[in-house]
């Protein structure tokens, strides 16, 4: 049985402090039952303000048309698709933590998976806004859905990567939401059963779906989580692969590359982990969850950041090499002149991307830096700035100089409504996140309890004692026959 399983002493513990099951409940559910702090209100109000700015920007764009954005004939995709890819990418870390690390039996995922999954859902919600509002006539958005209609019936083109994207993103959102919420049910029941206030009992009573904690239900719940993890793992890889197909299946120099799928997925995980760090470093401090989201978690995630950052770096260099080796004149020009040439109009963005994504994460080869919260927080922001510029470089520098010099675009800078839309998605994201940390358990309570007696620091110390007694005695004492 897992709870009594022998756990290597080499691995550091994942729960600090002396905890029992009840203390875990108190620590994680406590902040939900307390009144919101001033900091929470300030953050929430700023987020809502950003959201309102976003709503105004989008409304303006819907009333006056996509011409409110500074997109043009040559630069048909600018900030909107950059932001779309950026947000989708951020979502990927949540699924990686919740699904892939579950399959790999990585116990450290337990401290961070709930918040990371919530981040995934909110990020995908933000991402979805961009293609939808970019349609212009958004009231006809349902045309993308295949259903027998009176227009022919006119079906969408199932061979188009843009339609694959519709399926990929909506499936991703649905599956992530189901995975997240099915994991939340037991914790909702925990809040319900200790609630003193009437409305809280009613609200969490509805939200917990009548969960009791029955052994049979747990057995099914475990099976469900495992299979959903198994489904989410190829799903998450497929989502950013399909997003990269939006570019890679075209014939634009700079987009037409077979390296895109793995390169996009690595980049997505990279930026996603950076966002997880940004959120959790603040969350653990504000909600006093340092015992559950420990330096160990921060350290491991920084290792993933340096790994994926380096994969992305290799991809950048491979792309560069192939543009020379492939001897395609258009692609060669695109890379040499539009990106690498620092004096070209967007040359600066290429170096910003290289500096933020490839060079700066190398600092995490040093353990001291990985365990430094200030450095980690700073780096997590830098990485996301870099990843935003990666998408900007890929999209804009590939198209602003069209095949014919007469079609070359003038310098593209976003209009206030494009900026407002982007700010608005931050508003949406953080409004959701603030509501999440106020009303939902930020850490999976039941899962922490599940690993507490093998990965909790105080329990590990006890294990060391029992280890010195004798192996046979330990096995005899802790084993049980099924």
């Amino acid at each position: 049985m897992a709870a009594f399983r022998y756990e290597s002493q080499v691995r550091p513990g994942l729960v600090d402090g002396s905890k029992d099951y009840h203390q875990v409940t108190e620590d994680i559910i406590g902040p939900i039952e307390a009144a919101p702090t001033r900091g929470w209100w300030i953050g929430f109000i700023i987020s809502v303000a950003c959201l309102i700015f976003g709503i105004i920007s989008v409304t303006t764009q819907v009333i006056y048309g996509v011409g409110q954005w500074n997109l043009q004939k040559t630069i048909g995709w600018g900030w909107d698709i950059t932001n779309f890819v950026w947000w989708v990418g951020i979502g990927h870390a949540g699924t990686l933590i919740s699904a892939i690390l579950l399959l790999f039996r990585q116990q450290w995922r337990t401290g961070v998976n709930r918040a990371a999954e919530a981040m995934t859902i909110f990020a995908v919600m933000c991402a979805g806004q961009f293609p939808i509002w970019h349609m212009g006539r958004v009231w006809l958005a349902f045309f993308i859905m295949p259903y027998p209609n009176t227009r022919g019936p006119l079906w969408p083109n199932f061979n188009s990567p843009l339609l694959w994207d519709v399926f990929a993103i909506s499936t991703y959102f649905t599956v992530s939401l189901l995975f997240w919420y099915s994991g939340l049910l037991p914790d909702m029941a925990t809040i319900r059963d200790r609630a003193k206030l009437k409305w809280r009992k009613a609200f969490y009573g509805v939200a917990a779906f009548g969960w009791t904690g029955s052994t049979k239900h747990w057995q099914r719940h475990e099976a469900l989580s495992l299979v959903l993890a198994g489904l989410s793992t190829p799903l998450v890889l497929s989502v950013h692969t399909i997003v990269s197909f939006d570019f890679a299946t075209s014939v634009i120099p700079g987009w037409h590359t077979t390296i895109f799928p793995p390169y996009f997925v690595a980049g997505a995980v990279f930026s996603g982990f950076a966002m997880v760090q940004t959120l959790l470093i603040v969350t653990r401090k504000v909600l006093k969850l340092e015992d559950y989201i420990t330096m160990e978690h921060v350290d491991v995630m920084n290792k993933i950041i340096v790994l994926t950052g380096s994969i992305v770096g290799v991809a950048y260099l491979t792309e560069l090499f192939i543009s020379w080796y492939g001897q395609n004149k258009f692609e060669g020009y695109e890379f040499a002149q539009n990106r690498v040439n620092i004096f070209s109009p967007y040359g600066w963005s290429y170096y910003l991307m290289m500096g933020c994504n490839v060079l700066s994460p190398q600092i995490f080869w040093f353990r001291k830096m990985r365990r430094n919260l200030t450095v980690t927080f700073f780096m997590s922001v830098i990485v996301n700035v870099g990843m935003w510029f990666e998408r900007f470089v890929i999209i804009v520098t590939s198209i602003y100089r069209d095949y014919l010099p007469s079609s070359w675009a003038t310098y593209y800078a976003p209009s206030i409504w494009e900026i407002g839309f982007y700010v608005g998605t931050f508003g949406l994201f953080f409004t959701c996140y603030f509501l999440f940390i106020k009303f939902f358990p930020v850490i999976a309570v039941a899962e922490i309890k599940h690993i507490l007696k093998q990965a909790g620091n105080t329990y590990k110390e006890k294990m060391t004692e029992s280890e010195t007694v004798s192996v046979e005695e330990f096995a005899h004492e802790h084993a049980h026959a099924h």
């Binding site: 049985m1 649905t174 599956v175 925990t190 779906f209 009548g210 049979k216 057995q219 719940h221 469900l224």
Partner: protein, 194 residues
């Protein structure tokens, strides 16, 4: 809906719970259920529960998704409205792989979650009897069903001997009913039961 009588034993340590489950079963008592705050691996085996078939259901939903996607796209592009995309094949299987995959995952995930909720009878506004409110916090609650032959005092003392810290008898409805958790309206009458 059947209203029954139960002897409820509360344990505070899973190390005690495991041998207790075995002893209670070998003594011939029928365990109604054990409620735990987190999944405890092996407890289902100890209680003699069979493996869940939810995986199989997931697989069936998955292949339903695969066939739905392939047959729909195939029908649309070949017979309903065959469009010519630059002279490419109408039966363009490689280009359908992404959507087929996504629908496989979608059908499987949605189907499994709905099946899970159905099997466990979980839904918003569903209310169940909770034998111990700390069963979702830090206590392990073993519930033994009483039949007309059961001697409650004997069961209680047996539970005490295997390590239960708190033992009581409750009359409860084992299924569910619609209701809210902030109101105490029970659908059954506890009067008249011995």
């Amino acid at each position: 809906m059947a209203v029954k009588k139960f002897v409820v034993g509360v344990f505070t340590d899973e190390k005690v719970l495991f041998p207790a489950v075995k002893k209670v079963r070998s003594a011939g008592y029928k365990i109604h259920d054990v409620y735990t705050p987190m999944p405890i691996h092996g407890l289902d085996h100890a209680m003699g529960l069979r493996e869940t078939s939810l995986h199989t259901a997931g697989f069936i939903y998955g292949i339903t998704g695969t066939t739905t996607a392939l047959s729909c796209i195939g029908w649309i592009f070949n017979s309903d409205w065959p469009l010519n995309f630059g002279g490419k094949s109408h039966f363009d299987l490689p280009a359908w792989i992404p959507i087929t995959f996504e629908l496989t995952v979608l059908f499987s995930a949605v189907g499994m979650v709905l099946t899970f909720c159905y099997l466990c009878q979980l839904a918003p506004f569903v209310r169940k009897h909770h034998f111990n409110l700390r069963a979702t916090d830090d206590q392990f609650t073993m519930v033994i069903e009483c039949t007309e032959k059961t001697n409650e005092a004997e069961v209680s003392s047996f539970l005490q001997s295997v390590g239960a810290v708190n033992i009581n008898t409750q009359v409860a409805e084992t299924g569910w009913w619609l209701g809210r958790y902030d109101t105490d309206k029970l659908p059954y009458n506890t009067q008249g039961l011995n």
